[in-house]
């Protein structure tokens, strides 16, 4: 039986007792250091980024000229590379996101066992996550190298199949990057799901089994609802990480072949730092921010519907 918290009217907040007010002040004092740092290092830069996006602004701070919303007009009006980069980014998110969530959940379910030595397997599956992007990039560039130089192609050749140009073909490049990303990052999701699984009371499963529930029924009606919060956390985090993807692609393909894997952040970087168009780059960054913020809010709303019922 769930207990709903009593509704508190707005007036009640202002009718706090002296002790309650003191407790509230202590609470504020605790979060104040974070709040100050957050405002200085996150909130103000976002505002400053927006201000820069309204200018022509060299990356070294010279040639500053107010242009209003001209950068946004170009961005939405005639910049084909912006749209293609957005398309590549969403394609990557679509490929890597479900892979990371489904594989992470599957691994967590497999490793949520009370058997001897399970910790070793948990460690093994988590380990790729601690590698740096450069290490992962260099290793997988060789794993998927073209011709028979690559490990995967050497295996394919040994069983009589033609080598595949993994990173050199427009159709293959992004899925290959997504596979690399899943191998690299799935351990983190696995860990979150594992923690979530261990929070679900065993008595729920026992009761359901007594009622004749099968494995799928248990998973569908106990495990999945029990993982609602970890799931929300993982999905929001994965979406943000996918939209912000850059270093892995930079190391593996440099955005190629012929720009076909260039994500939005790489485009932002090119415009800002290679072309010195920091104002334009900031406009791209601000559009990304609004996009991610909106999607995250929608996700939060979607997953929090019905909570507490």
């Amino acid at each position: 039986m769930s207990v709903r918290p009593k509704a508190v009217s707005k007036d009640a907040i202002f009718r706090l007792s002296r002790i309650e007010r003191q407790e509230a002040l202590v609470g504020v004092a605790f979060i104040l250091p974070f709040l100050i740092l957050y405002v200085i290092f996150n909130f103000l830069p976002i505002l400053q980024g927006f201000w820069i996006s309204l200018h022509n602004w060299d990356v070294i701070g010279t040639n500053v000229r107010f242009v209003g919303f001209r950068n946004y007009e170009i961005l939405f009006g005639k910049d084909k590379l912006f749209w293609s980069s957005l398309e590549h980014t969403l394609f990557f998110a679509l490929l890597a996101g479900p892979g990371l969530i489904v594989t992470g959940l599957a691994l967590a379910l497999m490793l949520n066992q009370r058997v001897r030595g399970i910790g070793i397997f948990r460690t093994i599956f988590y380990m790729p996550n601690i590698l740096s992007v450069t290490v992962v990039g260099l290793v997988f560039a060789r794993v998927f190298a073209p011709g028979e130089r690559g490990f995967v192609n050497a295996v394919l050749s040994s069983i009589g199949l033609e080598p595949i140009p993994w990173f050199l073909d427009e159709a293959n490049a992004m899925p290959t990057i997504a596979i690399t990303k899943v191998w690299w990052s799935v351990g983190f999701n696995m860990l979150i799901f594992l923690a979530g699984l261990q929070e679900i009371s065993q008595s729920l499963y026992d009761a359901a089994k007594v009622d004749g529930g099968g494995r799928w029924t248990l998973f569908r009606h106990i495990t999945l609802p029990g993982l609602r919060r970890p799931m929300l956390f993982v999905i929001v985090l994965q979406l943000i990480a996918s939209v912000q993807v850059f270093p892995l692609i930079d190391v593996l393909t440099g955005g190629g072949p012929a720009g076909s894997t260039r994500p939005l952040v790489m485009y932002l970087f090119e415009r800002s730092f290679d072309y010195w168009q920091l104002g334009y780059g900031s406009a791209i960054a601000f559009v990304m921010f609004v996009f991610l913020f909106s999607i995250s809010i929608i996700q939060l709303w979607f997953f929090s519907r019905g909570e507490g019922d």
């Binding site: 070294i60 050199l168 290679d274």
Partner: protein, 438 residues
């Protein structure tokens, strides 16, 4: 006790005043450079014998300067290649280093924004003879007729050759030198002979960058240019199309390997060292590395030859970059500080023959003609390089040009676009860039 305290007080005061006076006399110059960090290996070394790596040489040169100039110490800040991120951040923050190293093609955009200190007069004042720079090399430091950088070297595209594999193909003359092709037909014929005799390509491309460098060299050799008379970028030209078609023809015939991305470019370098290809199109910066690997018996490559980038069309023309020393203190810098910075740069330039051990070309005629330079390994083999090099036009779009052409040429190489479409798209993007800047 009082006297003791008083005496100690006077001593402390005297020491601190003395230290302050010393600190005022000594000047510390900050140098922002790439070339890596090897303080662990060379931090205390002041003997240049046997050192051939970029990082080792520049670190030891700095150590020697600091030892010889206690009144003008140099403090190194190591940046990641190509050094622009740290330099841009330092300039934007108003704390630029006194000296920085950059590729010459990047100078125009910094100079056009007033971020660099004009150096022509100071160079003359400290004794750098601008007329000593070879014609091709001087361009790299100039912007609108003014020196903003002191060209230190020429990092050019060259042809690394495995003589044993060329000999198998019957392409080595009586003097033991490779019989280098002098026309497109010659090149294809030589490549076919190498492939027939060894089953290996006559040249591998060290990454997509090597393809673009080759393309620009062929454009120059065909009499083309990368900028029009007004200084705007031009890539959609008949010469560029002919050059691109030639590059693609070589790859379609299978006589030159298709380039891979930059990581797989590293594989091409390994392949050459391991005797898997008869040649490698890459830069001067590889020479000392191959020599070292051969000397240590690490690789299958034994008889190594360094040839100029082949001249296959009417005009000489080789792509080269150039590391330039510059003073990013802006237009109104303290003259004394600028003079001190350029004094250090002059000292580096005077000692640049040591830098040539890496394999790079030199920028000063006096160095090129010196006995020490002439005696360096392979020098006679690619002697024409310094005369043949052509810089990317001295315009603010140099960097964007490189990035855009790189991507569009890759599209043609991978048959994603036809050569005509790739060049037209590159031109359209460059035109957009110019329009945006205006």
């Amino acid at each position: 006790m009082r006297r003791l305290i008083l005496a100690l007080g006077i001593l402390v005061l005297a020491l601190s005043l003395g230290t302050t006076a010393l600190a005022q006399d000594a000047m510390t110059l900050t140098v922002l450079r790439f070339f890596g960090d090897c303080v662990d290996d060379f931090g205390d070394v002041t003997d240049l014998s046997g050192i051939t790596s970029e990082c080792g040489i520049i670190t030891v040169l700095t150590n020697i300067w600091n030892e010889e100039h206690p009144d003008m110490q140099v403090e190194t800040i190591v940046a990641d290649w190509p050094g622009t991120t740290q330099l841009n951040a330092a300039i934007a923050a108003g704390t630029p280093p006194d000296i920085a190293v950059l590729h010459g093609r990047r100078i125009p955009i910094y100079a056009s924004r007033g971020a660099l200190t004009p150096l022509t007069d100071v160079m003359e004042a400290v004794g750098i003879d601008a007329s000593d720079f070879t014609e091709g090399a001087a361009d790299y430091g100039l912007y609108q007729g003014e020196f903003y950088g002191v060209p230190f070297d020429l990092a050019a595209t060259i042809w690394h050759i495995n003589l044993d594999l060329w000999a198998e193909a019957g392409l080595v003359d009586d003097m033991g030198a490779p019989m280098l092709p002098t026309s497109p037909e010659d090149f294809i014929s030589a490549a076919e002979k190498v492939h027939a005799a060894t089953g290996k390509p006559i040249a591998e491309m060290a990454g997509q960058a090597a393809t673009v460098r080759s393309l620009t060299a062929y454009i120059y050799q065909l009499g083309g240019a990368l900028a029009d008379d007004a200084g705007n970028p031009t890539i959609d030209t008949p010469e560029a199309l002919e050059a691109l078609n030639f590059v693609l023809q070589l790859q379609d015939l299978g006589v030159v390997s298709r380039p891979y991305n930059e990581i797989n470019g590293a594989i091409a370098v390994e392949n050459f060292a391991n005797g898997e290809s008869a040649g490698l199109i890459d830069g001067t910066w590889r020479i000392n590395g191959f020599d070292r690997q051969i000397a240590e018996g690490e690789v299958a490559l034994k008889n190594y030859y360094v040839a100029d980038f082949p001249q296959l069309f009417d005009n000489p023309g080789t792509f080269a970059g150039s590391h330039n020393w510059l003073v990013p203190l802006g237009q109104n810098a303290d003259p004394a500080r600028v003079q001190a910075a350029v004094s250090f740069i002059k000292w580096l330039s005077d000692n640049s023959v040591v830098w040539a051990r890496v394999g790079h070309g030199m920028t000063r005629s006096s160095v090129i003609n010196s006995e020490e330079f002439q005696n360096l390994p392979h020098r006679a083999e690619y002697a024409s390089m310094s005369q043949n090099v052509r810089s990317v036009p001295r315009e603010v779009w140099g960097n964007a040009f490189w990035a855009i052409v790189h991507e569009e040429v890759e599209a043609a190489v991978l048959a994603i676009k036809t050569p005509e479409v790739a060049l037209a798209d590159a031109q359209a993007r460059l035109d957009d860039f110019i329009l945006f800047q205006s």
